[in-house]
């Protein structure tokens, strides 16, 4: 089910460079220098604060403010560790049909979603 869904999304979003950019961003965005090398600018400091607030508060209304889960699943590093960053970025931007997860692309750029995924996978955002 998951695999089908992801493969469908892959065909939908099959612009290779786009995917590569997400992958790189998610993998190495911890260091701004690496982000620059990957061609992705990490969000400006102010925007990072806004994104962090959004994750805790607005994502938090389903996933829990501490991201340990609610009606939606937990977004802790342990819960996300085996999930490819790329598919998580797609989930954030496009939502997951058949579930309560809405698309957030009207509020986030792909780079910002990639930054969020990286932060979540490293457990930066779930600290109070």
């Amino acid at each position: 089910m998951d695999r089908q869904y992801i493969s469908r999304l892959n065909s939908t979003y099959a612009v290779a460079s786009f995917r590569l950019a997400w992958l790189c961003a998610a993998a190495v965005c911890s260091a701004p220098l690496h982000c620059a090398e990957a061609g992705i600018a990490p969000p400006a400091l102010e925007r990072r604060a806004a994104l962090t607030g959004m994750v805790r508060q607005d994502c938090g209304s389903c996933h829990g403010m501490t991201l340990k889960g609610g009606l939606g699943p937990a977004l802790t590093p342990a819960a996300l560790t085996d999930r490819p960053a790329e598919s998580l970025v797609v989930t954030i931007l496009s939502g997951r049909p058949g579930t309560a997860m809405p698309p957030w692309r009207n509020f986030l750029s792909a780079d910002e979603a990639a930054w969020i995924v990286d932060q979540l996978q490293r457990g930066v955002l779930d600290e109070k």
Partner: protein, 395 residues
């Protein structure tokens, strides 16, 4: 003579002093007292909506994001249900936590039995309901929400108190509604209703205790259980209510517990759409649709049923609108502050208190003139709960 006057003055001062000493302790059991959840700091504020005073702050209550609370029957205590599974009992007179237990890993809300003896908590992790002695917080029973053949446990939502020591709740993952009879608190008897509709996400019980209604996220319509006729089973109502053919993204689940019942009319938040639905309670037929500013979260009736107030989901959550019930249309739009999460009327309904989370404040409005009467600082405020709730079934 002078001495005598002095003695009289001294006596008066002494009396006033005594009143002063007693004063702060007195308001706690009155209907004018309220508790405000400060979601980010794990604290609650005790307020008085008559004198508009902040009376005290009680801290150390854990993760209060999506926290709710219920009052004891005498309104002396509140039971706070934290997201982290914390269950805290606060004495409003003593202004402190008197009992606290971490009863689960992830919790969504709770209820208190009609007789006030039992507190029930609905849990996501591990899924199920736990029953506690309201006096001691001793756990009396656990009802695991096990379903299907693999022994999985569902997240439990929409728990409400019903007549005769019963609690009713919905199983989000199992599409079931369960009614637990706690006549013998240590030996619950559970009646299960299956296939009630996909993904019940919240529910309410009407104030007369007659109807339990669950909202369905996975399909259109609502699940209705007549608590006076359980043999009649769950039936589906309002088939047209829901996301419809073209599903719209929902940025925050509507809350059903605040559903507005005004006379024979019920006002419901649409799911995803920018609408409030008006339904005739006698036959559950939709009678009107009112276009509004955003996706409604709380749709609440003023106690006299003449106004309905609505707040909205992200990103349109800086606005509150007022519907005139007689005219069935919007009559006022207000901007109380950033990220409005909840509204609570005073018992007579002359004022409404509104929490603006990202402005860290509570705003008080006159519901007749819509004048802004007062503001209070509060730390990321969410739910506001006034003590009149102690007398109302399902709150």
């Amino acid at each position: 003579m002078k001495n005598e006057l002095g003695r009289v003055i001294n006596a008066i001062v002494l009396c006033l002093g005594c009143l002063g000493c007693l004063g702060p302790g007195l308001p706690a059991a009155r209907a004018e007292v309220g508790v405000v959840v400060e979601r980010a700091s794990g604290s609650v504020q005790l307020v008085d909506n008559d004198t508009r005073a902040a009376l005290a702050r009680i801290t150390g209550l854990g993760d209060l994001s999506h926290a709710s609370l219920v009052y004891s029957k005498d309104a002396r205590h509140v039971f706070v249900f934290g997201r982290d599974g914390g269950l805290s009992k606060i004495d409003l007179l003593a202004r402190k936590t008197v009992k606290r237990t971490l009863q689960a890993g992830n919790s969504i809300g709770g209820a208190i039995s009609r007789d006030g003896r039992l507190v029930a908590v609905a849990n996501y992790e591990p899924g199920g309901v736990k029953i506690f002695d309201a006096e001691t917080l001793e756990q009396l029973a656990e009802i695991p929400s096990t379903y299907g053949s693999e022994g999985k446990r569902s997240k439990v939502v929409g728990i409400a108190d019903a007549s005769g020591s019963r609690f009713v709740f919905s199983l989000f993952d199992a599409d079931e509604i369960w009614v637990a009879d706690l006549s013998e608190p240590r030996a619950p008897r559970v009646r299960k209703f299956r296939n009630i509709g996909r993904q019940p996400y919240d529910a309410l019980i009407t104030q007369d205790g007659r109807h339990y209604i669950a909202g369905l996220f996975g399909e259109d319509g609502l699940a209705l259980l007549d608590m006076n006729n359980l043999d009649g089973g769950v039936r589906r109502i309002l088939g047209g209510y829901g996301q419809g053919e073209e599903k719209l993204p929902v940025y925050k689940m509507p809350h059903l517990r605040g559903w507005a019942m005004a006379g024979d009319l019920a006002f419901l938040p649409a799911i995803g759409r920018h609408e409030v639905l008006v339904v005739d309670r006698r036959d559950w037929r939709a009678v009107a649709t009112i276009p509004v500013h955003g996706q409604p979260v709380f749709v609440m009736a003023r106690p006299d049923g003449r106004q309905v107030w609505v707040n909205y989901a992200f990103p349109l959550n800086d606005t509150v609108e007022v519907i005139d019930v007689a005219a069935l249309k919007l009559v006022k739009s207000l901007k109380p502050g950033k990220t409005v999460l909840h509204m609570e009327f005073t018992a007579p309904g002359d004022e409404v208190w509104i929490s603006a989370r990202d402005d860290n404040k509570l705003v008080v409005y006159d519901t007749k003139s819509f004048a802004r009467l007062a503001e209070f600082p509060a730390d990321s405020p969410s739910g506001i709960f006034f003590a009149w709730r102690a007398r109302i079934m399902g709150l």
